[in-house]
């Protein structure tokens, strides 16, 4: 099977293919490597992303214009490949310098996969990073080199400046690293066994943590997660618990298992007597839960998390997960998409802690300011300019569309609220859209009750609805009066019927002489529940049954009375 057929996985964590490859695997790219059979490495299927990304080209362009037949057929199968043009503002070096650890490589690879113009640079940076850090994750290294080779082969921009030592796998180094990884795994495992034999709690915990760390370094996230989780039974102090939580959160974010992140955030939060660097831990937990909420599309909760981080992470202290710039961007966008005006003022604009982050990303600050000041042209302009950049963000890319729509909707609602009449052509201009499109958006907002207005589609004017409260009250009260009358009458009638025994009963009690056409057989259980009746009843019961079917077909009536 083509590994691209499971696109979600490949997107969530770009190295998910690698996790399955055992760290001992000498074959550089196992069959589970997503890029193995890929002719266009920059084309990643994105099933989770909305297809309507407007300024994203859906076909390959730039460097990768050497299609062969095979490639063509593949491209057809994945029409919705999201490929991002050169981002407008992204400075790759500056951007990536804010991160450390795995997320750095993950982000670089993510960008390389999606953006042809930055592909070579990103891959180069990633490979250099791996090598300088003496990574133990050799399969990943090999994979990146392979990607770089492919990119150069298809002449991606900047391929002329790729030095040959990056293009070739440094075999000797790789082998030694693999050897090292293997040895260390064995050593740590035997040590752990030893600790277990001696059953010293703290040693076992340390052993598990070390093993987890090692697996994490090797890129084997599932085993790392296992290792970290095992320490749970050996935690003795709150500090240990926090350590456990932080480790599990780190791995879970990388695995894309965000519900798990939330549970561990809660666990860490509820741990009493948090150790010395309390504020830092708290901030990190907030950031993690913000990411999780963002991933689960709970934008309001995510915004609240990001906004309450405080000043602790301004210096990219949580760089292995999130940079300070990200906090500004994620928090700002989520807040715009989900907060009301007063909330925006109180929680974002007047938020001293968050202001520090906003200084790092001035355009987000401008965006929020212009939105708050109802300067929607500027606001939408900024959003548009930065869209491509955010599409290259590993966490934000699949939410950009939803966030942007929400912000837009809120902008529309705010725009119309102070006016009695709004000229649709002018409004369309300030929202840089066409009148029919705007009309459609407005209609959906009116129907959902977010805008109280009506559209004059002939003259293209939006009229605020003049609800006559007095009339509405009159109508409501008459309707209520009618309901009351009806219900009370029904009640009186019902009591009378009960009083006089006008209750629908099984036909047996009433008139056993056949010709009884009602009910009865509709209620097997009740009849049998009364119990104690013999075969004679069964016979009569059958008679009634046929009677009922007759009855159903032609409501003729036969009264057995007299």
């Amino acid at each position: 099977m083509d590994p691209r057929l499971s696109p979600d996985r490949t997107l969530r964590s770009p190295d998910s293919g690698m996790m399955d490859t055992s760290s001992d695997n000498q074959g550089f790219a196992g069959s589970s490597n997503p890029m193995d059979s890929d002719v266009y490495p920059e084309q990643l299927p994105t099933a989770g992303t909305p297809s309507s990304l407007s300024n994203v080209t859906l076909t390959a362009d730039g460097g990768s214009t050497a299609p062969d037949n095979n490639g063509n057929s593949k491209r057809k199968r994945f029409v919705k490949v999201v490929e991002v043009d050169a981002p407008n503002n992204l400075d790759l070096d500056a951007y990536i310098a804010n991160y450390k650890g795995h997320t750095k490589i993950n982000r670089l690879e993510f960008i390389a996969d999606r953006c042809p113009s930055l592909q070579i640079d990103a891959l180069k940076a990633a490979i250099t990073e791996l090598k300088t850090n003496q990574t133990l994750n050799i399969p990943r290294y090999a994979n990146l080199v392979k990607k770089l080779n492919e990119a150069v082969k298809y002449g991606a921009p900047g391929s002329a400046h790729v030095s040959s030592d990056l293009l070739n796998v440094d075999k000797a180094w790789a082998d030694s690293q693999l050897q090292k990884a293997k040895q260390q795994t064995e050593m740590l495992e035997s040590e752990l066994k030893n600790y277990k034999r001696n059953s010293i709690k703290e040693s076992i915990r340390m052993g598990n943590v070390e093993l987890g760390n090692h697996y994490y370094a090797c890129g084997d996230l599932t085993n790392a997660h296992k290792g970290y989780s095992r320490t749970r039974d050996y935690c003795t102090t709150p500090k240990h618990i926090i350590e456990l939580c932080m480790n599990v959160i780190k791995v879970s974010i990388e695995l894309g298992n965000f519900p798990h992140v939330l549970t561990y955030v809660v666990k860490a939060d509820s741990t009493p007597e948090v150790p010395q660097d309390k504020d830092m831990t708290k901030a990190k937990l907030k950031a993690a839960s913000g990411l999780a909420n963002l991933d689960l599309s709970k934008y309001s909760a995510a915004a609240r998390d990001f906004l309450s981080i405080g000043e602790e992470l301004v210096g990219h202290q949580y760089g292995e997960v999130i940079s300070a710039n990200d906090i500004a961007v994620y928090g700002g966008l989520c807040a715009l998409a989900s907060f009301s005006r007063t909330e925006l003022k109180r929680l974002v604009i007047d938020n001293v802690g968050f202001r520090q982050y906003l200084e790092l990303e001035p355009h987000i600050r401008d965006l929020i300011q212009s939105f708050y000041n109802s300067n929607y042209t500027v606001c939408l302009d900024i959003m548009d300019k930065w869209r491509n950049d955010y599409l290259l963000d590993i966490h934000l890319h699949s939410h950009i569309e939803a966030l942007y729509t929400n912000i837009r909707k809120k902008a529309l609602v705010q725009f119309t609220s102070p006016f009695l009449t709004v000229d649709l052509t002018k409004m369309a201009k300030s929202f840089s859209t066409s009148v029919p499109e705007l009309e459609k958006e407005l209609v959906s907002l009116i129907i959902s009750g977010q805008i109280e207005a009506r559209i004059d589609s002939q003259q293209k004017i939006l009229w605020a609805k003049q609800t006559n409260k007095r009339s509405a009250i009159f109508e409501r009260s008459t309707a209520m009066g009618q309901d009351y009358e009806r219900e009370a009458k029904g009640l009186v009638l019902r009591i009378q019927m009960m009083n006089h025994g006008l209750v629908v009963k099984g036909p047996m009690e009433k008139s056993p002489g056949g010709g009884n056409l009602d009910g009865g057989d509709y209620d097997h259980h009740q009849r049998h529940g009364r119990g104690g009746r013999g075969g004679r009843d069964t016979q009569m019961f059958a008679d009634t049954r046929t009677g009922v079917s007759n009855f159903l077909s032609n409501f003729t009536r036969d009264r057995a009375r007299g």
Partner: protein, 456 residues
């Protein structure tokens, strides 16, 4: 004729001697019941017809006996007999008739039978309608004639005479004086609902079907099931959704409805979503069931009503909209035919006061301007309406209070109340009690055991 049978003259004399209700029930009732029916149906030759001697007003009781058998014996339509029937129903004495309510029912049935045999069910309607008003104690009383009349009207498709009767809500049921049982109640409301549906007064129809469905019941009646089916469709027609049934709807009925009305509930769910295509597929899917229940026509009307409802929704969103746009929005296709249909629908809606709008043909295709409800509720009409409603409400409330007081002072109520307080949960029998206890103890032990097991 048996020798000890009284002669006709004696009978007449006897009848003429009994003029007040007390003597009628005491002496005349057994006397007439003992007579052979040929006495009433025979038309003696040469002599004057006994029925002509009697006055329908003074001797209503006996007159009814004669009429019952005359009508039964008559096959087909006789103008002379009909004249007598008419004279009888317009002048008869309600008290005397109520004394023989079973005979009154036979009379009505015979009349209907006679009308049916002459293939003119319509001739029975007016006499029955008048007859009902004669024998009712109050306008809201349900009589045994009600369902019969409703059914006859349905068969004759003539609703002019029954309309005032239907419009008067049933507020009094008394099986002892009017000879009715629960089936009369259910059938009357079922037929009544059908009549209202036919007259397109869907709000009343829903009301009637609801009364039938929510009638007190130990087991569900087929009439209730059928009523519910029509209840679903008429509610969709009128409200666009199915209001929940009253809380007091019998559980047995509710259970049956879930079992037997699956196509209807599925259709309703699709309808409430207002999606044209989904409703259409549901309609096709359940067409067979609907046709079998003879409800397909109503379901098709629901489709029409959907367009109206959608247009009504548009009035909330738009001030002006071209007919073309309306057509495409409500999904009637964009061809010329669709536009004409839409215009027709809009015109009818404007006429019926469902929407307030004007259509202008200045622009190609026509432009609809939706207006607000011109009624500003600042006129005397509104005042009167509110006042009338308030009076009704207070009247009902006071009658409810009176009823509540009557119930709370009833000895039966006290007995029942004190009974349940005395023995809230204990079994009546001593031995039962012991068994219960033993069982409970056993059960407790078991639960303890099992919990212990799980704990390990």
């Amino acid at each position: 004729m048996a020798p000890n049978e009284p002669t006709l003259d004696e009978i007449i004399a006897k009848i003429q001697s009994c003029l007040d209700t007390a003597t009628i029930t005491k002496t005349l009732l057994p006397f007439l019941n003992n007579l052979h029916e040929s006495v009433f149906s025979a038309r003696p030759h040469g002599q004057t017809d006994p029925i002509d001697i009697l006055s329908p007003a003074a001797h209503s009781f006996a007159y009814l006996y004669f009429l019952v058998y005359r009508c039964k014996a008559s096959h087909g339509f006789h103008p002379a007999l009909l004249e007598k029937v008419w004279a009888f129903v317009t002048t008869c004495d309600g008290d005397q008739i109520r004394a023989a309510s079973d005979k009154a029912l036979s009379f009505a049935e015979a009349l209907v039978k006679m009308a049916m045999e002459s293939h003119q069910p319509v001739i029975a309607i007016r006499p029955l309608a008048v007859f009902i008003q004669r024998i009712q104690l109050s306008p809201g009383q349900l009589t045994m004639i009600h369902p019969l009349l409703a059914k006859t009207c349905l068969l004759a498709q003539s609703f002019k005479d029954i309309a005032p009767i239907l419009d008067c809500d049933i507020s009094d049921v008394n099986p002892t004086s009017t000879h009715i049982d629960y089936r009369d109640f259910l059938l009357y409301h079922y037929y009544g609902g059908m009549i209202y549906a036919y007259l397109k007064q869907f709000e009343r129809a829903v009301e009637f079907f609801k009364l039938a469905v929510s009638a007190p019941a130990d087991v569900a009646s087929a009439i209730q099931i059928e009523s519910y089916k029509k209840y679903v469709l008429t509610s969709l027609l009128h409200y666009g959704k199915v209001p929940t049934l009253p809380k007091y709807t019998a559980t047995a009925v509710n259970r049956c409805l879930k079992l037997h009305c699956v196509p209807y509930s599925e259709f309703a769910v699709a309808y409430e979503k207002k999606s044209n295509s989904a409703i259409r597929t549901e309609l096709e899917k359940h067409k067979q069931a609907l046709v079998r229940d003879r409800n397909y026509g109503l379901a098709k009307q629901c489709m029409e009503a959907l367009h109206r409802r959608n247009i009504q929704d548009l009035t909330r969103t738009y001030l002006t909209l071209s007919i073309e746009d309306i057509t495409s929005i409500i999904g009637l296709g964009s061809d010329q035919d669709g536009a004409r249909r839409v215009e027709g629908i809009i015109v009818r809606m404007i006429e019926s006061g469902d929407i307030f709008a004007t259509i202008s043909h200045e622009h190609a295709g026509g432009m609809v301007s939706f207006l607000d409800d011109p009624n500003q509720h600042n006129n005397t009409a509104t005042m009167d309406k509110i006042n009338a409603q308030m009076q009704k409400a207070t009247a009902i409330t006071s009658s409810l209070i009176a009823m509540d007081q009557a119930i709370s002072s009833m000895p039966a109520y006290f007995n029942k109340g004190s009974h349940t307080i005395d023995h809230p949960a204990y079994p009546m029998d001593e031995s039962d009690y012991g068994m219960q206890l033993g069982y409970d103890a056993y059960a407790d032990e078991g639960s303890i055991l099992s919990s212990a097991l799980y704990a390990d």
